[in-house]
Symmetry: C2
Subunit: 695 residues, 2 copies
């Protein structure tokens, strides 16, 4: 009875997110794009992106089919949960891409009006993506939970993880192959500008932004979101950490993470509304209510000041305030929830969750300091271009290595604090807390590639240069705020993986995982080397795919008559096909490595060694992911900083050196680095699923 | 009584190594260098190197003094052992540099005769270094052991480790600052050839080769060698793994590792003699005996074939056969020793040790495959220069990441095998086995920088170009065989650190180090991030020091009249002073980080968390060290491969791209990478020393 009500509440909160997304989407799609060329290009990108997903999902359907048959061994429930997890992840990815590729052209068109309109359109697209992901996540968990036990929910998480890994790796390869191919032959060899319609790889490049940054990022955060809840439930139901009399939390251990995530939906919607308050004016049913509520709220003087600045068009401020407001609302709600559910220990639980939320936000800040050109580190990397590409590489490299310290310290502090406050349940809830504002964090994140794409479309359909200027400005703001999203993705991956790891140990009935046991040491070492091998595979895959793209673009420039003066039409679809085929082919080996290694180690060396493997992978994976994301981000922004006219600006040897850094950083930050987030979660969730084999 | 005999035997075997080194040194120094200019240059380099060591040791003496006062808390024995360890390490480094800087000019001079004479001279220098290091190691352990208990021997190891870390980091910074400064301003900006006497940084560069590759490498292997023995003794004396009745090994657990190391001295001498059989002809006392023994041995047809090929001047074959012969002899001796000492379990122990020896050799091979231009991977890196520096960096990067897999697998296999055969004592003995042939491995290694220096001297004193050709050939052979030495350094660091880690856990009376304990997880994460931070610090230090060097060289080119036409003399000593000062200043922070972190974590988070810290550092440190060494080596050899005329050869854009890779790789392979070897050992030995505080 209790359980059933909980499921209904979860379902309703999930549906609230979906409804919000639906409302915004309706409003967004009502906007008519004026220019025919914009519509056409947007359509080509849309089709290319959907065609890629279709092929990817066809392949993944076979994979999911086979795995779910294997799951039948563990009962119909597991197979069902696994299938549902995979389907929800795929569905979230599909819808995200669908919406994002419709928002890009509209953003370009809206930018003809003014910056505010463009921000609203881009952010509308982003928030549909963000709210859909959390909505589908909550609905999926609720629907699974209707039919399976708490323990079997792990299969739901594994379904989400499997799709996420392939989406991240495949998307990362797709986008970078197209990017490198378009840049190297188009910009460097043929000397035509970025996003020039004469470049055969330009459509593939724009499709890639969606495939990598929208679908990949959505799948990544969907997975973190779902798995943090799954881990918290698995730990919560048996946790005896809270009460002195040794009672297990039982139902309340399940209810708390779900309600926390549900409250996150409400907080995220609040934050989104702050960013683009005009957005709801035309939405049927909801709009009037929220407008009324907002009107009352706005009477407060502080709120009025903030709102005025946002309405004045300060987009960076708006995005930041939206995130803060959501975070603050989240913390306030957590306080009420924990006091209600846990009474005497409520304050402890509240602090544990808050430690996760705060750590997530601070990791975002640390990421920003190391990757934004507003701060010293990126300026130093840009400055090192005085002595050529080698010093750019070295300085970016050491920046990335150094940047791992603060996030790891924050993760450690949050772990220690939440553990001492509420045991492993506290750690798991800290992860849920950190991820609860995924709705708005992903909205802010997804708005970036939409603006980027809008800029590409503006360029290709020869809209006035002011349009491009507006989208560029939006894109660059997005880059900065996206740092917070990236920090969240990595930080939450670490906490989620730790929680899943503990859930695994419990499920496998491990009393200890002793690193004095040589098998555990061997597991640790193997786990430590895996992320390196995984990165190597994905970087090489990008290299191979880019090579094929380079040759194709060169061929078209050579063979298609009149391509340069605009009389010959480039064969865009051939480049799209190359990226698609390469991404699908190259994602298999890393994917299999991630899925198979926990199983192989578990079977060959036993469950202790598997525990060691997970420990090693989490440690190296987290540090390496931080390093690669931050090095890559710093190189990217150092190049942009020089392009803004510093250290000589475009066309100088400084710029050339910075371009080398940026090219090296591309697969770091967009392929290998983010895939590691998923690797560590996927491996732990696989272990959690197979754990009953060992117990 | 037993113990005393054992100490005497150890002492004698150590003295045998010292005597051999002394004999070779006498012979070597009897060789008269004809050319005055060679003598002069050799003298300048010699003085520069010794001046650096003097300054470094002055600084370190204060540090050692302070630490040994702290040690007095733990008793006079610990302070004494610590002091002795530091003194032995410093002494070995000092003597190595002394000999190597005398062998360089003689090698240049001998190369005027023929390649065989040059090889003999260079290898003589190398083998004095190699045999001195193991000799001093054994003598040092024996002398410590006379006065302190087995447990207190750890302080001896810590003394050696502390000096080694500063020597490696300081030496690495010195050599790369000088190298980069000399290359960037001299070769690139001023367009004068390498090793041109007009370049003010040329002497600093040659001094750097000695400071980094001779003194640094000696200190590194001295430390591994000593600590593997220390760890094996600490574990052996209490080990109950071998006998069914639960007896501890006691005395035999101490005797076995010492005798193993002692037999390694004999095996190494045998291998060295194979490489340059003529070397002993003139040595008093010893020579005639060994010549006689050799004459009999050579009657065997297989041996005769090998000897003919070596006498024919095939230096690469000679070095390789020397290593193999030493390895074979080592394995044979191990068999006899283990059967004698452990009778029923002798064969198990034998196999455990052999697994270490074999793993060490195979890791060397794997290193060679990934870093020598004879194999596919380096050729691929060279080929990627077609698309510019960014792809060179990416391909070298992914090569390095991939290359970590095989060595880690070998370390894992050796660990599992030796553990299942003879418990943790087996793992510790595998490390001793791997390191027992340090004498010859270091000889082969140290011969490289001597040849390199000889080439520089030949160039600067305008000897005929054939001389330079011969030294270049020797140098390039040295690079290939050095791969084996590097593999050994990393593999043995891993096994030694594991053994020290177990010794720590025993000394701290830890029953388990459970990675389900959040404090241990936090330790693991902190341990995992440390090597990244450490690398970042040392790479940045190189950058800063190189910058200072670049400015000084530019200033001299600008201000000294007639420097370019040879009428003005460059101020070499200013560049030497810059490298010296930078190395000394920049080694402090990484050094303190390594020493302080185990103490801080131990005191703040407890002994379990300290165990986690060590585990995390070992895992990430080993993998990162392999990655950096192999990426760096591959870039270096890819550049050389292009310079040999492949992919366009010198002066093409391919070559320019490969130079970027090489520059990035320099601090990887010569500063950060090798320092990690020491980091992991130093941190574990510090933990071992402070362990009694926690028990």
């Amino acid at each position: 009875m209790f359980s059933f009500s909980l499921i209904i509440v979860t379902l309703l909160l999930g549906l609230l997110a979906v409804a919000y997304a639906w409302g915004i989407y309706k409003k967004m799609s009502a906007f008519e794009v004026g220019e025919e060329r914009v519509v056409e290009l947007s359509e080509i990108i849309h089709k290319g992106a959907m065609a890629f997903l279709k092929k990817e999902y066809t392949w993944l359907a076979c994979f999911v089919g086979v795995v779910s048959i294997l799951f039948l061994y563990r009962g119909v429930g597991s197979a069902y949960a696994f299938l549902l997890g995979a389907a929800c992840s795929a569905g979230a990815g599909w819808l995200s891409m669908y919406v994002a590729t419709q928002a890009n052209g509209r953003t370009a068109s809206a930018a003809k009006k003014d910056a505010g309109a463009a921000l609203e359109m881009a952010f509308s697209g982003g928030s549909v993506v963000g709210m859909l992901v959390v909505g589908i996540g909550l609905v999926g968990i609720a629907v699974s939970y209707l039919f399976v036990s708490e323990a079997t929910l792990a299969a739901f998480g594994m379904g989400a993880s499997s799709i996420a890994l392939f989406a991240r790796v495949g998307g990362g390869i797709y986008t970078k192959a197209a990017d490198v191919g378009a840049d190297l032959v188009g910009k460097v060899e043929a000397g035509i500008p970025e996003d020039d319609p004469r470049n055969p790889a330009v459509i593939a490049d724009n499709v890639g932004d969606n495939v990598g940054d929208v679908a990949g990022m959505s799948a990544d955060l969907f997975e973190s979101y779902v798995n943090s809840i799954v881990a918290a439930i698995a730990i919560g139901i048996t946790s005896t950490d809270l009460y002195a009399d040794g009672r297990a939390l039982g139902f309340w251990g399940v209810a708390f993470p779900l309600l926390l995530a549900g409250w996150g939906v409400v907080s995220s919607i609040g934050g989104c509304l702050l960013i683009s308050p005009r957005v709801l004016a035309g939405v049927p049913y909801l709009g009037a209510w929220i407008d009324w509520a907002f009107g009352r709220f706005e009477k407060l003087p502080f709120v009025r000041g903030v709102m005025d600045r946002i309405r004045g068009g300060d987009a960076a401020f708006a995005l930041r305030m939206g995130l803060f407001a959501a975070g603050a609302k989240m913390i306030a709600g957590t306080f009420v929830l924990s006091m209600l559910l846990f009474i005497t220990r409520g304050f402890h639980v509240f602090l544990a969750v808050t430690s996760g939320v705060v750590a997530g936000i601070l990791i975002g800040f640390a990421t920003e300091v190391f990757t934004s050109s507003d701060y010293r580190p990126v300026k130093d990397v840009a400055g090192s271009s005085d002595t050529g590409p080698a010093t750019v590489i070295l300085s970016g490299f050491s920046l990335g290595m150094k940047s791992t310290l603060v996030p790891v310290l924050l993760i450690c502090l949050s772990t220690l604090a939440s553990y001492s406050l509420a045991g492993m349940f506290g750690v798991a809830c800290a992860a849920v807390g950190m991820l609860s504002i995924t709705g708005i964090a992903l909205s802010v994140d997804a708005y970036g590639p939409i603006s980027d794409n809008a800029g590409g479309i503006a360029e290709m359909s020869q809209l006035p240069p002011e349009v491009r200027k507006i989208t560029d400005k939006l894109d660059s703001i997005g880059n900065t705020t996206a740092a917070m999203g990236k920090g969240l993705a990595i930080g939450s991956a670490a906490l989620t993986a730790l929680a899943l790891f503990v859930a695994y140990a419990q499920a496998a009935r491990l009393q200890v995982i002793d690193i004095m046991n040589p098998k555990v040491v061997v597991g640790l070492l193997l786990g430590g080397v895996l992320p390196f091998v995984f990165c190597s595979l994905s970087i090489e895959a990008v290299g191979r795919a880019a090579q094929a793209m380079i040759e194709e673009v060169r061929r078209q420039f050579r063979e298609i008559v009149g391509i340069m003066d605009g009389t010959g039409k480039p064969e865009y679809e051939k480049c799209v096909a190359i990226s698609t085929a390469a991404a699908l082919r190259e994602m298999i080996l890393p994917g299999v490595l991630a899925l198979a290694s926990p199983i192989v180690v578990g079977l060959l060396l036993g469950k202790e060694a598997l525990g060691g493997l997970l420990g090693g992978t989490i440690v190296t994976g987290v540090v390496l992911a931080l390093f690669m994301a931050n090095s890559g981000g710093a190189w990217d922004n150092a190049k942009k900083y020089i392009e803004e006219g510093n250290f000589g600006g475009k066309g100088t040897s400084n710029h050339a050196a910075a371009v080398v850094g940026d090219t090296v950083g591309d697969p770091f930050k967009d392929t290998a680095g983010p895939s590691l987030n998923i690797l560590i979660k996927l491996m732990t969730v696989v272990a959690l699923v197979i754990a009953p084999m060992f117990s």
